[in-house]
Amino acid sequence: MRLSYAVVMAVLLAGLAASAAPAQSVDDILSMVDANVSYTSIRYSGRMEITIAGESRYKTMDAVAQGSSKAFVEFTNPEDRGVRYLKRDKNLWIYFPSEQDTVKISGHLLKEGMMGSDVSYEDALESSDYRVKYSAALKQEDTVGDRRCFVVELSAKVDTAAYDRRVLWIDAERYVSLKQEMYAKSGKLLKASTTLMVERIGDRWFPSSVEFVSKLRNNTKTVFTMSKVALDVPVDDRQFSMATLTK
C-alpha cells in the first residue's frame, strides 16, 4: 500500500506538467504550459522522499509512460525492489515479486485516500489535459519567490475530475506551474504543491522536483524528484503489458 503513494506522486508530477498554462488569454497560457510539459512519452528515474513528523522515508523508481493512459513503474529501493505498477486507462495492477502476485486495484481504492494520505489512485489516473475536465479563468498576477506568475483557476466541469477546484501559479516567463492548490467541493484546501526545480530539457522548461503537502494532516510533506528525464522517446506498447509486469 505504501508504494501506491509513490506512484500517485509520480503521476501527479507528470500531471502537474500538463496542468500549467501560459500568458495573455488563459487558453494561450495553458497551451504554452502544455508545450513545455505535455509529451507523447516519458522515461525517468524518480526519487520520492516522504516526511511525516520529522521521520523520512524514500523510494526510488524507474518509470515510463505514454500519453496519460499508459504507465509502468518499477521500484528500485531495497525495501520494495522489483515491485511494479502497470496502468492502462483506468486499470491498475500491482506486481509483488516475492509472492509472484499480481493484484488488480479495485475501483473504490482508486477513489479513496491511500496509506492514511489524501492522495488517491484517481489522482494518479487523471488525464493530464485539464482543459477537458476543467474550465479555466485567469485571476491575477502574483509572485512565487522572485518569479512573476499568472494565477489560473480551474473549476471542474465533469464529475470525473479529481478536485472541484485547482489554483495554479504559472511562471510568466517559463510557463511552468510553480505552485498549485487543490480544493474540495466544500471549498476546503486539500493539498498544495510547490515546484522546487525547473530544468531545461531540449527546448522545454520542465518541473523536475515538486513538493506536495497534505493540508488534512499535520507535519507531512513529500518531495518528488525526477532525473534522467527523456521526453517523446519511442516506447514499445509491450512495455505496458501483463507479460512485462510479471517478467
Partner: protein, 380 residues
C-alpha cells in the same frame, strides 16, 4: 546425514555471500541484485484453562535470514532465494510438529530432526531456484518457483500448486518445482501452462490457465490434472469492481473412479472508506481434509479491518473461522515502519479448537490459546 546436509547448506550460504561481496560493476546497471531480510520474532503463548501456572506459558523465538539473488537481464534471468532460521522453544516445537505432519517437505532441513528433549533447532530451505527465458511470444521458466493462481485474499481454490507456510505472522507461499510456459495473448491476456511432474510423471500436477481482461473484469479459466489425487480439475476465477471490489474463485475436481466430484469455492469483497479497508471472504470446502489440510472445514469465513493510520503505522484485525467445526482464530496486528529499512510488527492472537491439521485456524488445539509476539524485520 541431516547434519551433513545442514553443514553443506550453511557453507553454500557463506559461499553465496562471499561470491558477491565484491559488489556489482559500478559503470552500468548491475547484472545481478542481492537482497534479503533478517527477521526476529519472539513470542509468548498461553494455553491454560484460566489458571496462571508457569506450565501454562511457553516461550519461543525464530530468527530468520532470507537471501535473494537475481541475476541476468534481457532475455535470460535466474533467481535463487533461501532461508535459514534459528528456532527456540515453542517455535522449534512447531517446526518439529510440522516435520511429523503431512506438511513436511523432505527437502527442508531441520536439525535436530525431532524434539527428543531439545529446545532449539536450525532450519533451512531453498524457496526459489529457477532460470527463465523471455521471448516476445513466450516465456519459459524451469526450477523451483512460486506459482500463484487465483484472486482470494486468504483462500484461492484454483491455486493448485501453492503450499502455504503458516509458521510466521503472515502466510508465505512455498516454491514449487515446475516447468512453466506463458504465452502472451494481447497485452493483458495469456495462456499459462505449468507442469510439476514427479518421479513418475503420471502422479505429477499439470495445468493450463487462460486469462485476461474482459471489459473491466480480470478473469481466467483453467483445466488441470492431479496425478497423485487421480482426478481432473476445472476451475475459474474473476475480479471486478462494482463500487466494492468483488472476486470469486472455484474449482471442481472429478475423480478417475467416477461418481460426483468435489467443489471448492471462495468469494469475497473488499471496500475502503477513509483510511480503513474492509475485506470479507467465504470459503466452501466440499472436499474436506483430503482437499485442504489447512482449512478442512466445509464452511469457512474470513474478515479483516485495516486502518492505515499513516505512512508509518497501520493496524489490522482479522478473523478466520470454521463455522461448523468451531475452530477459529482472531489476530490483532500492528505494523510500524521503524526506519527506512526496518519494520516492527506486534501481534496478539487468540485461537481455538484446531483439530487435526487445520493449522490455518491457529495452533490452539482443543482449548483456547493466546499468543503474542513481536517481529523485527530488516531489509537490505
Amino acid at each position: 546425514m541431516r547434519r551433513l546436509a545442514l553443514i553443506i547448506f550453511v557453507s553454500f550460504l557463506a559461499s553465496f555471500l562471499a561470491c558477491f561481496a565484491a559488489g556489482a560493476p559500478a559503470q552500468e546497471a548491475a547484472p545481478w541484485t542481492l537482497g534479503g531480510t533478517l527477521s526476529m520474532q519472539p513470542l509468548v503463548s498461553y494455553a491454560g484453562a484460566g489458571s496462571l501456572d508457569a506450565s501454562d506459558f511457553t516461550y519461543g523465538s525464530g530468527t530468520t535470514l532470507g537471501l535473494s539473488l537475481k541475476a541476468g537481464g534481457g532475455r535470460a534471468r535466474a533467481e535463487a532465494s533461501m532461508e535459514a532460521a534459528v528456532l527456540t522453544g515453542a517455535s522449534a516445537q512447531l517446526a518439529w510438529a510440522i516435520a511429523l505432519s503431512p506438511f513436511r517437505r523432505a527437502d527442508e532441513l531441520l536439525f535436530p530432526a525431532s524434539a527428543s528433549g531439545q529446545d532449539a533447532a536450525l532450519a533451512a530451505r531453498i524457496r526459489t531456484l529457477y532460470a527463465k527465458l523471455d521471448f516476445d511470444w513466450a516465456s519459459f521458466t524451469a526450477g523451483r518457483q512460486v506459482l500463484n493462481y487465483g484472486r482470494g485474499a486468504l483462500w484461492t481454490p484454483t491455486d493448485i500448486f501453492t503450499e502455504l507456510d503458516l509458521s510466521g505472522i503472515s502466510p508465505v507461499r512455498r516454491g514449487t518445482d515446475a516447468l512453466r510456459v506463458v504465452v502472451p495473448l494481447g497485452v493483458t491476456g495469456g495462456l499459462d501452462l505449468a507442469a510439476a511432474p514427479s518421479l513418475s510423471p503420471g502422479i505429477g500436477r499439470y495445468a493450463a490457465r487462460l486469462g485476461g481482461l474482459l471489459g473491466e473484469v480480470d478473469a481466467a479459466v483453467m483445466a488441470a490434472r492431479d496425478g497423485a489425487g487421480r482426478q481432473w480439475m476445472l476451475g475459474a476465477d474473476f475480479k471486478t469492481d462494482l463500487v466494492v471490489g468483488l472476486y470469486a474463485d472455484a474449482i471442481y475436481a472429478q475423480p478417475d473412479a467416477g461418481g460426483w466430484g468435489t467443489v471448492r469455492a471462495a468469494a469475497g469483497a473488499d471496500w475502503s472508506f477513509g483510511d480503513f479497508i474492509v475485506a470479507a471472504e467465504y470459503y466452501y470446502n466440499g472436499g474436506g481434509a483430503s482437499a485442504d489440510l489447512l482449512y478442512p472445514g466445509t464452511h469457512n469465513i474470513y474478515a479483516s479491518l485495516t486502518w492505515t493510520a499513516s505512512e508509518l503505522l497501520s493496524l489490522s484485525l482479522s478473523v478466520v473461522a470454521d463455522v461448523e467445526g468451531g475452530a477459529g482464530a482472531g489476530t490483532l496486528l500492528a505494523r510500524l515502519s521503524a526506519a527506512q529499512n526496518a519494520d516492527v510488527k506486534a501481534y496478539l492472537q487468540a485461537a481455538h479448537g484446531s483439530a487435526g491439521y487445520g493449522l490455518g485456524y491457529g495452533v490452539g488445539g482443543a482449548v483456547w490459546n493466546l499468543q503474542t509476539g513481536v517481529g523485527l524485520e530488516v531489509k537490505f
